[in-house]
Subunit: 346 residues, 2 copies
DNA sequence: TATTAACACGAAACCGTTTTCGTAGTTCTT
DNA sequence: AAGAACTACGAAAACGGTTTCGTGTTAATA
C-alpha cells in the first residue's frame, strides 16, 4: 500500500509554480478585472487541476468572521432539542454557516466552559437554551460577558429576563391555557398538572396558563392537583399514588415522558382513556405518536424555532452596524399547536 | 441603555500599553524563562485584568490544528445517532476538542458538500456514518479525497469496505443471530424479518444473522417471511397485510419504529404479545422502553460507539507520524446486547 | 514626439499568534 | 581590563489568505 498524500495546495504554491506573485494568484482566482485574461485562465486552470480550495482558517483570521455558529443546549438525546437543532442546522447551512455544538448536560459549569471555549474567536455568535442548573442558580454572568464583548446571542425556549438579547420562545402560557380549556370543554373539571420544578421558566409559564384556564372557567385551583416530578429518575409509584389519592379526570403534562407515565398509571388503576381520564402532553415526539392510546399533545414546532433563532442570529452577525447605541432586541414567539389524538375526546 | 463594548484584547494591545514587544508579551504569558520576573508579573496582571484570551483562529492557523472534529450524520432527530453523537461530544470535549456537526439528511450531495465545506481547514478529522443515498450509489470519492489529503476519518455503523480507514461497528450479524435464537429457544419457528432495503450494510448483516440462526436450527428460510419497508413513510396496511397473510409467531425488526408498528398490527389482528407473537427490535430508545407491551430490543450502545470513534480519531489526529507507508487501520466492534422486556418470553 | 491614460502585475501590510534568532547591556572570569 | 557568558528583550518570519497602493510597460491622445 502506498499513498501519495496530496497535501493541501496554497496560493503560495500556485504562485511559485506559475512564476507570478501571490497577489496575482489571489486576484486571478477572484476573476479580478486587474488581471489579464491569459493569466487568469492559466491560474484558474492550474487551481482547478490541483483542486485548490482556500483555507477557511486563514480567511476567518483575515475577515474576523468564522461563519460558525455556536449552539449550546442542555441535552442532545432529547426530541425537542434535536428538532430545534435541525432547524438551526438547516437554516445556517443554507446561509453558508457551520454549526459547532456543545452540550451543557444541564450543568452550569459546563455551560460556562463551553461558552468560554467558543467565545475566543471560534464562532460568530451563540444560540442557546439554558441549563437547568443555570436557571436554578440564576447566574448569567457568562452570558453577560459574551454580549458585552459584542458577540450576538439568541436564547430559545429556556430563556431569562436578566439578559438583553434576541429570544425565541413559544406561547407556553397561552397554549397551556388552550389545552386545559380543551379538557374543560370536553367535560372535565378535575384537572391535574404534572410538571417539573418551577425554576424552569417554561414550566412556570405553563402553570400560569393552567391556572388561568381553571379560573376563567370557574374551577378553583387545588394545590393537590399539581404533581411535581424530577426531571429524571421518575418513580412510577409516586405517579400511581397521585392518581389513586386524587379524583382526577383530566391531566396536562409538561412533557411527553410524564404523559406516557400518566397513561401507564391511569391504565393500571383500571381507568379508561380518554373517557374517564383525558391526557394532554407537551412535545410531539415519537412517544406521543406511537403510544397506545396515542397522545394528544402540544407541538412546539422546534424546527421552526431553530430556523427563526438562526435567522435572527445571522442577521445580527451580518449587520456589522455595531450600532451600540440603539441596538434593538426582539423576542419572537412561535405559536404552538395542539395535535389531537386518542388521549382526549372532543 | 449604554453599553461599552469590551472588544477582545490582543497581544498587540497589551504590548502597546505596557511598552514592550509582542514577543515579550507572548512569552511572558507562557511563563517563559527568558522573561524577567518583573515583566512577567506586569504582563500577567494586565492580561488577567483585561481578561485576555488568545484567539483560537490565530492559533489554529499557526499550528495547523483546529481542535475541531467534523461529524457528518444522516439525521439528528434519531435516537441512535444522537446517542452516538453524545458519546463523541463527551469524549471530544474531555480532550479539548469541539465538534462541528453537519447533517446529510440521507442525501449524497449534502454529504459531499458538507465534507468539502469542512475539509478546507475547519477540522482536524471526520467522524461519519454514511447517508442512505451514498450507500445506494456506492460512490465514495469524497471520502477517498479526504483520506488522500491525509485527513483522518472514522466511519461508524454505516460503513463501507471500499474505504480504508478506522471504523466502529456493532456485531450486527451476531446479535441478530442471538435475537433469532432467543425467539427459537422460546418455541417460535415461524419467524419474520422486518427490514429496510439491503443497501444498508447493517440491514444486510442483520439479515445474514437471521438466516444463519434459522439454518442452524433446522428452519428453512422463507422469502415470504421477509417484509421490506421503506425507511420513512410506512404504510400500516402493508404491515397488517403481511401479518394476516402469513402465519408468524416471532418477529425481528431492524429498528424500533418498525417494531412498534408490528406491535400495533399484531394487536389489531387480535393476537397476543408475547404468547402468540414475540417481537424483538433494534435500538433501545424511548419507544422500546415505554411502549405497551414494552419492547425487547437490541441495545447498540451508541454512546460507547461515539466514544470509541472519537478516541480513535483523536489518536490519529495527534499522532502526527504521517507514517504514510505503514499506516494501519482498525475496525472496532461494539458488542450489542439484548434487553429483555415484555414483547418476548423466555 | 511628448504626455497621459490604461493595463497588468507585484510589494507589503494586515489578521493574531508562536518561535527562532540576534543583540544590547550586564555580570562574571582570569 | 578584555573576553566570555548571561540576562532580558525585540525583530522578523511564518501560518494562508485579502487588499491597498505603487509602478513599469504599452497604447492612446494632443
Amino acid at each position: 500500500m502506498h499513498f501519495i498524500l496530496k497535501r493541501k495546495i496554497t496560493l503560495k504554491h500556485i504562485a511559485r509554480e506559475l512564476e507570478v506573485s501571490i497577489s496575482t494568484v489571489s486576484k486571478a482566482l477572484k476573476n479580478s478585472e486587474e488581471i489579464s485574461r491569459d493569466t487568469k485562465e492559466k491560474v484558474q486552470a492550474f487551481a482547478k487541476l490541483y483542486n485548490y480550495r482556500p483555507n477557511n482558517i486563514a480567511i476567518s483570521l483575515k475577515n474576523k468572521r468564522t461563519r460558525n455558529i455556536g449552539v449550546i443546549i442542555p441535552d442532545i438525546v432529547h426530541h425537542f432539542f434535536t428538532t430545534v437543532f435541525r432547524g438551526i442546522e438547516k437554516y445556517a447551512n443554507s446561509r453558508g454557516y457551520n454549526v459547532i455544538i456543545c452540550v451543557s448536560d444541564e450543568s452550569f459549569d459546563k455551560e460556562v466552559i463551553n461558552m468560554e471555549m467558543l467565545a475566543n474567536g471560534s464562532i460568530d455568535g451563540f444560540i442557546m437554551s439554558l441549563s437547568a442548573e443555570t436557571q436554578q442558580k440564576n447566574d448569567f454572568n457568562h452570558l453577560k460577558e459574551v454580549t458585552e464583548q459584542g458577540i450576538p446571542l439568541v436564547l430559545f425556549d429556556r430563556v431569562t429576563d436578566e439578559i438583553e438579547c434576541d429570544k425565541v420562545i413559544i406561547n407556553d402560557k397561552e397554549i397551556a391555557y388552550q389545552a386545559v380549556k380543551k379538557l374543560i370543554d370536553s367535560g372535565k373539571r378535575k384537572i391535574a398538572l404534572v410538571t417539573t420544578d418551577s425554576y424552569f421558566n417554561v414550566s412556570k409559564k405553563r402553570a400560569e396558563g393552567y391556572k388561568a384556564a381553571l379560573k376563567d372557567n370557574g374551577i378553583t385551583f387545588e394545590e393537590n392537583y399539581v404533581l411535581t416530578l424530577p426531571y429524571q429518575e421518575i418513580e412510577k409509584s409516586k405517579i400511581e399514588h397521585f392518581f389513586s389519592e386524587n379524583d382526577i379526570d383530566g391531566v396536562l403534562c409538561v412533557n411527553e415522558v410524564f404523559a406516557i407515565h400518566c397513561i401507564g398509571a391511569v391504565q393500571k388503576l383500571g381507568m379508561k382513556i380518554p373517557d374517564e381520564v383525558s391526557i394532554i402532553g407537551f412535545t410531539d415526539g415519537l412517544l406521543s405518536k406511537y403510544s397506545v392510546p396515542s397522545l394528544t399533545t402540544v407541538a412546539q414546532h422546534g424546527e421552526r424555532m431553530g430556523e427563526v433563532a438562526a435567522e435572527m442570529l445571522i442577521e445580527k452577525v451580518e449587520s456589522e452596524i455595531e450600532d451600540d447605541e440603539n441596538e434593538t432586541f426582539r423576542t419572537e414567539t412561535i405559536k404552538a399547536t395542539i395535535i389531537e389524538r386518542e388521549s382526549t375526546k372532543n
